[in-house]
């Protein structure tokens, strides 16, 4: 697998570390209930197909990326800096 880091370009999988589903970006605050926590931390759509997830380019520029990827074909469908994606969404 090769992932295109928005900062570094096309790089080998071994430079990156998977960091879980991109739902981690939308963290419930301390006043949320345990159902919200359960949904955030544990329950997953776990799709067989395109999904959004977080990767860290930790053997590279150490940017966290939001990656759109197909879990059946492993095709990388898009990458963005997580911080920018979060700011854009926020």
């Amino acid at each position: 697998m090769r992932i295109t880091c928005p900062l570094c370009g096309d790089r080998d999988l071994r430079e990156f570390t998977y960091g879980g589903a991109a739902v981690y970006m939308d963290r419930p605050g301390a006043d949320a209930d345990l159902d919200a926590l359960d949904a955030y931390l544990h329950l997953r759509d776990n799709p067989a197909g395109p999904t959004e997830e977080l990767w860290s380019h930790d053997m590279g520029c150490r940017a966290w990326l939001k990656v759109r990827r197909d879990t059946v074909t492993h095709e990388i469908l898009g990458t963005a800096l997580a911080a920018e994606a979060k700011r854009g969404a926020g």
């Binding site: 080998d12 095709e75 911080a83």
Partner: protein, 978 residues
């Protein structure tokens, strides 16, 4: 035997080699197989299950029979294909999986027992009596199984791994591959041409045909010369592309030095390549397939294309009298080429009644081979056709059931090949591997002309995708035709065993039995019979078995399906894939700046988070680690000790929102911390469990320095980046790991201030620099930092200087400490000191503990949100049923407490349902003259004073312990404030 003329071998370069102890002569350019055939050796191996005598069948890496061991002694290499091994002077090869000799193999008794050893027989027996499986049956089976042997000694061969990048990777240097490489290179692409063989050219080296007016092998030679002169082309010989992976990544094994006897010192024997290619062209050719008929496995029965290859490329006639059996026009080439080479053709047997073709030899149209003779080598065969049955004397039978395109790489990413009725074979599905373009025979283009055209076309497709201009077309003339085929898989109406998978001894009967027992899906048939699981991964056998299954089920072959080919295409040594890891190469080794000085003091080292840290510093007269450890603990309690703590993670955190950031990642509050002060913090995972602990210093308003534990330094750093970038990009803060930038030493003990006073310029008296202070200091003219923190409970400091001064500072600190009756201390003493104080390490913070368990629930600030806060409110993470941190002391001072032992109430049996907790850390405290331990005990905080039973089944120790608070020494903390 060697033919008098022809061949791509160097008749002026004779080489000597040995096979099973006997010396032979070969020529440069020979493989072991060609050289053995040239010497009249036909028996080269034994089959896996029945130990049937076997000779070479193929001329390539798919060889199932002629597997030998190369070398001798503890560096012997098993399962080497004689068809791939180039000979060199002094090569030693031995046959394998036979005893006592290749000619006389006692396990051939299995062949006599074969009526009882059909597919899956072992699932139905060996069950009585129960204990006999492990004691008797299985050991016997294991000894009989296996092919070659490992010596059991360290593999000392040199291996390498490397990366390569290119625009176009061309896999295979036959006509299609050469043409593809040429066109791609002329279009300006950066090309890698990888070929499995040591001589590029593919089938052009094995056939008698012309390309562009030249003999095919000369055209190949010329084309390789042209390519070699181009700067944008890399030619990799002896390189098998073994796997297709995601994103245009290919694995490839280069056999750098297996063909030479004396490898230069620096050279690897193999290099494993990871090739990142923007486009790849699969020009791996095709593999010929056998036909199943009774006793089709005798030495001397070979594939027709291989027989031709031995004659044309190596000038070797595999026999004196050759019969050919085929269902296609290509088989006739073997008859014609061998006849032209002067070899007697006993018969050309074609299953097709209407087969075209003529030759100056007996021809049997519409006929089949129904049996063979010859125990250790073929002597004759039976043919049946319209004209009845005929016995034919022959020492070689060349068989061709057609050719299978080498689709394997296109299956590595779950692609399923598709059936092409025209060639009666599977061809690659379109876009089975993104960016991989099949060409030539691999794509089902079976003639040389079609292969050349398809290689050129694939290169043009690749160039277009890369945005490069295609060069002017220039494809040479070549033969086009002679590929007609009528599918024919196995001879029916005969008795006897007809082999499908030669190595694993799977016959048509086995497939029939599998079907009879309802193993009817291809995968079931394969798993039940073990077909296709031999070292060729079914390259020769899969299609034949599919055809048999298809007949049995009445479903056509494409509906019957195909099994998956998985990486690697040909087997790859673990040593090559694991290159550089042997010995210490597996993981980085990290050394502190004080390493040399510590070593000079005789310290043994232990590993901690890839670092090496000193265990203790033995002094003359000390004979055990305990003596040194006890002395070092007393030293710290009584005078002063010095320890290197540089391995703890150090993270520089800066920005206007640094304080808010820390409030978010720590459970407790840091925004209230004043500049120049230090605070202990615990950090949670989002699931409410403790991730790590440590101190963080506020250097100024917008700058903090965080300390992590050694083991969790990397995890915490990544976590901070995660929080900063993924969760809170709204905060203006930056983080940087500075662990390696600073050398940091703990100076601990009542005389710590005395020691440091003499080293630093600044006033560090208690008033100016109280407990939990930090600030810049000047150490012998060097700008450093001083922290008044303590992991020992003593008056203590940690002093940090840029790493390049670490060695000097450590030596200076230790020398001064020694002058104060102190000295260096190691991890053992550090551990005892912290246990005495109830401080935590990852023995306690093992990922399952919560702030509640540790008695730190109140540290989780109610005034703010933080990572993990919500999760700590889950009912399961709180409550008396949870095991809580306690101290443990033996009732009888000095009795053993062992980490890993479990805790039980007095009088309760030591079984799971009574389990109350466990010991995490223990050590002998010279300070309190008893063993001390930390552990987790159910509802432990409510049980201080209770006597509890520690049981260690594994080491046979039971100790009555008193439960107490986890801080054993100076619970008021007066000493650190001294």
């Amino acid at each position: 035997m060697r033919l008098d003329t022809g061949g791509l071998i160097d008749r002026d370069a004779p080489l000597r080699f040995r096979f099973d102890g006997k010396g032979h002569a070969g020529l440069k350019g020979d493989t072991l197989a060609s050289a053995l055939l040239a010497n009249g050796v036909r028996l080269m191996g034994r089959s896996f299950k029945y130990h049937r005598p076997r000779g070479v069948m193929t001329a390539g890496s798919e060889e199932p029979n002629a597997l030998v061991q190369i070398g001798a002694g503890d560096q012997v290499a098993p399962n080497i294909r004689a068809t791939q091994q180039e000979i060199y002077d002094g090569l030693t090869a031995t046959s394998q999986n036979r005893w006592p000799s290749l000619r006389t193999d006692l396990l051939a008794v299995n062949d006599w027992l074969s009526p009882f050893l059909g597919a899956g027989f072992y699932y139905k027996t060996f069950m009585w009596p129960r204990s006999f499986w492990e004691k008797l049956y299985e050991p016997v089976i294991r000894r009989a199984a296996g092919l070659g042997a490992l010596s059991g000694a360290t593999d000392t061969a040199r291996y390498d791994k490397a990366f390569a990048h290119c625009d176009v990777l061309v896999i295979g240097a036959g006509p299609a591959g050469l043409m593809a490489a040429l066109t791609a290179a002329r279009g300006g692409a950066d090309v890698i041409l990888a070929d499995e063989d040591f001589r590029p050219g593919g089938r052009l080296n094995a056939e008698r045909e012309e390309v562009g007016g030249l003999p095919g092998h000369l055209w190949a030679e010329e084309t390789i010369r042209t390519l070699a002169e181009m700067d944008n082309v890399r030619i990799m010989r002896r390189t098998t592309v073994t796997g297709a992976y995601d994103g245009g990544t290919y694995g490839a094994l280069e056999r750098v030095g297996e063909h030479v006897g004396d490898l230069p010192d620096a050279a690897p024997v193999q290099t494993f390549w990871r090739i990142a290619a923007r486009r790849a062209i699969l020009a791996a050719g095709a593999t010929e397939r056998p036909i199943a008929f009774p006793d089709n496995d005798r030495p001397g029965v070979m594939l027709a294309g291989a027989v031709r290859a031995y004659a044309n490329r190596w000038a070797v006639a595999p026999g004196k009298r050759i019969a050919i059996f085929g269902n296609n026009d290509d088989a006739w080439r073997t008859a014609r080429d061998l006849a032209a080479a002067g070899v007697e053709i006993a018969a050309m047997i074609d299953t097709r009644a209407d087969a075209a073709g003529t030759g100056d030899f007996p021809v049997h149209r519409g006929a089949v081979v129904t049996g063979t003779r010859g125990r250790l080598g073929l002597t004759g065969l039976s043919v049946e056709g319209a004209g009845g049955r005929e016995e034919i004397a022959a020492d070689t039978l060349a068989v061709s059931g057609g050719w299978n395109p080498a689709v394997h790489l296109t299956c590595h990413m779950n692609g399923r090949p598709v059936w092409d009725a025209a060639i009666a074979a599977f061809v690659p599905a379109e876009n089975a591997v993104p960016g991989l373009l099949p060409a030539g025979a691999a794509a089902g283009r079976m003639t040389t002309a079609a292969a050349l055209a398809s290689g050129d076309a694939a290169a043009r497709t690749a160039l277009e995708a890369l945005g490069a201009a295609a060069p002017t077309p220039d494809v040479p003339q070549a033969e086009d035709g002679g590929t007609a085929i009528t599918p024919f898989w196995h001879v029916t109406g005969t008795r006897g065993r007809a082999w499908l998978d030669f190595q694993n001894d799977v016959t048509v009967k086995d497939v029939k039995l599998a079907h009879q027992e309802n193993f009817r899906s291809v995968e079931h048939m394969k798993r039940y019979t073990t077909l296709g699981m031999a070292t060729d991964q079914g390259k020769l056998s899969n299609i034949g078995a599919l055809a048999v299954l298809s007949e049995l089920t009445g479903r056509p072959i494409p509906e019957t399906g195909t099994t998956t080919f998985r990486p690697p295409y040909t087997p790859v040594r673990i040593g090559a894939l694991g290159a550089h890891a042997r010995g210490s190469g597996f993981a980085p080794q990290r050394y502190t700046t004080s390493h040399e000085a510590s070593r000079a003091r005789g310290a043994p080292f232990i590993e901690a988070g890839l670092w090496y840290r000193p265990s203790y510093f033995p002094r003359p007269g000390e004979t055990t680690w305990r003596e040194s450890c006890d002395r070092e603990v007393r030293m710290v309690r009584d005078s002063v000790g010095v320890a290197d703590v540089s391995t703890l993670g150090k993270i520089d955190i800066q920005g206007p929102d640094a304080a808010a950031f820390l409030d978010f990642v720590y459970a407790n509050t840091f925004s209230t911390l004043k500049p120049g002060r230090v605070r202990y913090g615990i950090m949670l995972r989002e699931d409410g469990h403790v991730m790590d602990d440590g101190t963080t210093a506020r250097l100024d308003d917008h700058r903090f320095l965080m300390t992590t534990t050694t083991a969790a330094a990397g995890q915490v750093m990544r976590h901070l980046e995660y929080v900063q970038q993924v969760l809170r990009p709204d905060l203006d803060v930056q983080t940087l790991s500075v662990t390696d930038h600073w050398a940091q030493f703990a100076v601990a003990g009542p005389k710590a201030r005395d020691l440091l006073d003499s080293l630093v310029d600044e006033d560090i008296a208690d008033a100016a620099f109280p407990f939990m202070s930090c600030g810049p200091v000047t150490v012998a003219g060097v700008a450093g930092r001083l922290f008044r923190i303590s992991f020992s409970g003593e008056l203590a400091y940690e002093i940090a200087v840029p790493a390049r001064y670490g060695d000097a500072l450590f030596r200076a600190l230790v020398t001064r400490a020694e002058s104060l009756e102190g000295g260096a201390y190691g991890m053992e003493a550090l551990n005892v000191l912290r246990i005495e104080k109830g401080f935590l390490t990852h023995a306690e913070l093992h990922g399952r503990t919560t702030p509640f368990d540790l008695g730190m629930a109140r540290m989780v600030s109610g005034a703010k949100d933080c990572i993990g806060k919500l999760a700590t409110t889950r009912p399961g993470l709180n409550g008396p049923e949870r095991e809580q941190l306690v101290g443990l002391k033996p009732v009888a001072a000095g009795a053993e407490i062992l980490p890993g032992a479990h805790l039980f109430s007095e009088g309760a049996e030591a079984v799971r349902v009574n389990d109350q907790g466990y010991v995490t850390s223990a050590g002998f405290s010279p300070t309190l003259n008893t063993t001390l331990a930390l552990g987790f005990l159910r509802d432990g905080r409510a049980r201080h004073g209770e006597t509890i039973r520690m049981v260690d089944h594994l080491r046979g120790v039971e100790t009555a312990c008193t439960v107490c608070p986890p801080v054993f020494f100076d619970p008021e903390g007066s000493r650190v404030r001294g």
